[in-house]
Symmetry: C2
Subunit: 543 residues, 2 copies
């Protein structure tokens, strides 16, 4: 575990540097639509920001440092599955601690993510639409791609401003060297290169229960199998590393390893907080735990819903409870913002034993609300008021910009690329109605699939692009998006067209990056010759 | 308005009679499945009932009378649309007073109704599955059928035990004399024979907005129309009457009449409570307001959801708030149980401007959860504890038996027919986990469509009855019933078969009644010759 207590003096200096007024820097290049809003509200927002900064300065004075920030993010949950006790009852799950967290702070009802793990995590790290960094695909091993070295993450931004930074859990940002979390700004990182499936379904005992099919050598066709490299067995996943060092393999991919990892990662979180609680430096922690565990015996199913997924939520709930309790016990709750949320909608292909649709239609991978509208909560006793239900639009990208503001690190946000995140400090501190976002562009892979403005949504893809084209709906009237239509929304036709045009013209000026490909598993300590050979094979595929 | 203050002395006598122990009467004939539960829990429930009756006796002593009971029931709402502030935000509606009612008492997450207005209201009135009374059809004018004279309603049961009783709003129990609410046990009734559609869509101004089609004479085919009686124009709906008297036409069916009626009915509710607050007799009020009003100008749409339906919910919310406030102001809140709920799921054919699916699949008319699982709340300050989320199964039929218990009127429950309602006093007074129901048979028209036991649901209808037959699901895992299947539930095959067999064997012993047909509009004062002629025509159709 990382401790940087000794760097107290340096912290003070960098904190001062970070406090330089943002006006001295070049302006951030926001997404084009935001510029519309900025022009309309500039004066008011400037005044509001002054108030907010006074409040934050007073807090810093009181606490002796800037706030700690913990971002908890888990897999595949739709709005309502956690945080609403009535929905708990409907689904047979029990998340009392997340429900209490919701009661003690903000419960967001319009937190948007990208439609799957990898792009959402890229968006959280960079504050940018994942498509800009060519990170819209979900990587599976062996992949040979990942986050570009020069994408600037929130860990880098906050590090520069003097924060301790740590990553624990599921990163899913690729298996190439540039993407390793300890090379992306985190002082300490215990991270997976992929999702949980290498751990969880690639287990011989999972086959009868519907696990991976045709993978193990015993299942290979006895007569016709020619290519022995098509199904290589040498995958790895979880690494551990410190900034400036080579990461090493942290654990294997057996079921036992995975179950141990779930516990270890949680303990690491708590240890990290204990160690850093009284550091002179504030900390930023991305705790993105592995949620799934489908390798449960029947007697391990203890929720009413009795699915492996509901057990995962129960574990998550307990862990979040332990986290909040620890912050309170250590006396740092009032100087710690915790944002807890899912990374995208339900992977309802796994229903009914995994996540399933509830309020919204669609799920992981979809541009529908079910794909991108997730449960999300913000907790900061004394600063965020209790019992707030927030109906404002807010998106995963906004966390980057908001955390940077709270850490007085906005000057380290890069000025050479488009930033999609909007500073939502006002929303956190002043509540419902104070969002600076009223729109979102939703990508499916590289395609702009839909755009939202206020409660209206327009879908861009479909089979009638040239004729009447594309469907509109009102998300209040039609939350399940089952009544896409045009006539009542003809007033919105041109405004949506212009919004898309602004977006696309800006992309021409700031084009998307190319996919970042490299040989997988470079620069990792402790990996087998087989895994190295696997990396080399993939490198040849793309040469 | 009715006032029976002068009958105080008589009330005391009948209250004493009603207090005779139920043991002296023949036992109630419960639905067969309940007998299974009763055998398993008899001793415990007997003991629990003694405790409950002590509590109720203490309350009676304190308040000088048995509790008032108000049953508020409205149209076409799915679980979650009201009572959950997060869902309010999702749907762009605002029901702060219902949400507060939920916070101040019980919010049910498994309140079941029948799948549409008429059967649900029959079930509420009689405590019986509507199919037993041949009341599964939704009546439209001119109908010529309705509730049998000798069905015993909760108003009759409580009247006999000395309650003042009143009905205000939508009855939808038919247009024949036996069905009029003032002939069915209510001392006062201001009731509609049908739903709101005669008022609301049969308006010339509604045609461009999607109202009734082809109805008005100006729309009749100029060349080929032979039958002038096929589209008669002499419909009526809302009547007013007192027990033992002929009802009279209360209002016409113009849009103006309807809008006035919405206000009048609400004022009648408040007036009734004021007048009866300090009566020696407790009262039972069925306030089943007309919810829909699609005849709104754009500037009358004031909710974020800005649909006529969300405006209806807003009005309902305000009215419920005024009701609860009045009870509190009058000092009778602690002696008044208010149960507020919808009558069935969303009529999602009216989406997106009317109700739509949200958490559950399906709606009005469906045996799916979306058809029969509704928002429901119970409020009784001092007796029902605040902040209860109840996940128990409970059904509309149970209100009959429960209200009878609370009114010490169980002896007046008829013993010659099957009663589907279960006494849920323990659930109201002791909370989650104290339901005496764990099953429900759901009818679609005259067909047994599905049965629920615990969280499991089996659908009986479909196109493969003789082969593998019928689907099962687990409502926790699959709340939208999208994964009906058999293999994981083979253990439940025979138990469900037996449950159905028990139900059907009991029906053989106590067969369903025949539809109760008669000439419509008999015994009403103040109707036109045209309306009378319409009644006579319908009578001829069924001779």
């Amino acid at each position: 575990m990382v401790s940087l207590r000794s760097l107290g003096a340096l912290t003070m200096i960098s904190a001062c540097l970070a406090s330089l007024p943002a006006i001295s820097a070049k302006p951030i290049i926001y997404e084009a639509e935001f510029e519309q809003l900025h022009q309309q509200h500039q004066a008011q927002w400037q005044q509001q920001d002054q108030q907010l900064d006074k409040l934050l300065a007073a807090l810093e004075k009181k606490n002796g440092k800037r706030p700690n920030i913990i971002h908890v993010m888990w897999d595949d949950n739709s709005l309502g599955e956690v945080g609403i006790p009535e929905m708990n009852k409907v689904l047979g799950i029990d998340t009392p601690r997340i429900n209490r967290m919701a009661d003690e702070g903000i419960s967001f009802t319009r937190m948007y993510t990208e439609p799957s793990c990898t792009p959402t995590r890229t968006a959280a790290l960079t504050g940018r639409l994942a498509v800009r960094a060519a990170m819209t695909k979900v990587g599976f091993p062996p992949d040979g791609m990942g986050l570009h070295a020069d994408e600037v993450t929130i860990a880098e931004v906050l590090s520069k401003a003097g924060y301790n930074t740590a990553f624990i859990g599921k990163a899913h940002q690729g298996d190439i060297e540039s993407s390793y979390m300890n090379h992306q700004g985190f002082d300490y990182a215990n991270f997976s290169m992929y999702n949980q499936f290498p751990f969880m379904t690639w287990q011989p005992q999972m086959i009868p229960g519907g696990g991976i099919q045709g993978f193990f050598p015993s299942q290979w066709d006895k007569h016709y199998t020619l290519d022995k490299l098509f199904r290589p067995q040498a995958y790895i996943n979880q690494l551990e590393g410190r900034k400036g060092e080579k990461p090493k393999l942290f654990t294997g991919t057996s079921a036992k390893d995975y179950k141990a990892l779930l516990k270890t990662n949680k303990q690491q979180l708590l240890d990290y907080i204990k160690i850093n609680a009284d550091s002179n430096k504030p900390f930023y922690m991305a705790y993105w735990p592995h949620l799934y565990d489908f390798m449960l015996a029947p007697n391990e199913l203890t929720t009413n819903g009795n699915t492996p997924f509901s057990e995962g939520l129960k574990r998550l709930d307990r862990d979040i409870g332990d986290l909040l309790d620890l912050l309170t016990e250590l006396g740092i709750a009032e100087n710690t913002l915790v944002v807890a949320m899912a990374d995208n909608g339900p992977m309802h292909e796994l229903a009914p034993i995994g996540p399933r649709e509830s309020i919204f239609r669609g799920g992981k991978g979809d541009y529908l609300e079910g794909g991108v509208r997730v449960p999300a909560f913000a907790w900061w006793p004394g600063t965020i008021k209790a019992n707030q239900i927030v109906g404002d639009m807010v998106s995963i990208h906004d966390l980057f910009t908001t955390f940077a503001h709270l850490g007085q690190a906005s000057n380290y946000i890069p000025r050479d690329r488009v930033i999609d995140g909007i500073d939502q400090t006002a929303l956190l501190l002043q509540g419902d109605g104070h969002s600076r976002r009223d729109y979102l562009h939703i990508y499916t892979g590289n395609q702009l699939a839909a755009s939202i403005k206020q409660q209206f949504k327009r879908v861009w893809i479909g089979d009638r692009p040239g004729l009447v084209g594309n469907g509109f709906t009102d998300l209040y009237k039609d939350p399940r998006e089952e009544h896409m239509t045009m006539p009542p929304y003809l007033w919105a036709w041109a405004p949506f067209d212009h919004m898309k045009a602004r977006h696309e013209r800006q992309i021409q000026r700031y084009p998307h990056r190319k996919e970042n490909r490299d040989r997988p598993y470079k620069g990792i300590e402790g990996i087998s010759e087989e895994t190295k050979a696997l990396g080399l094979k993939v490198e040849r595929d793309y040469k």
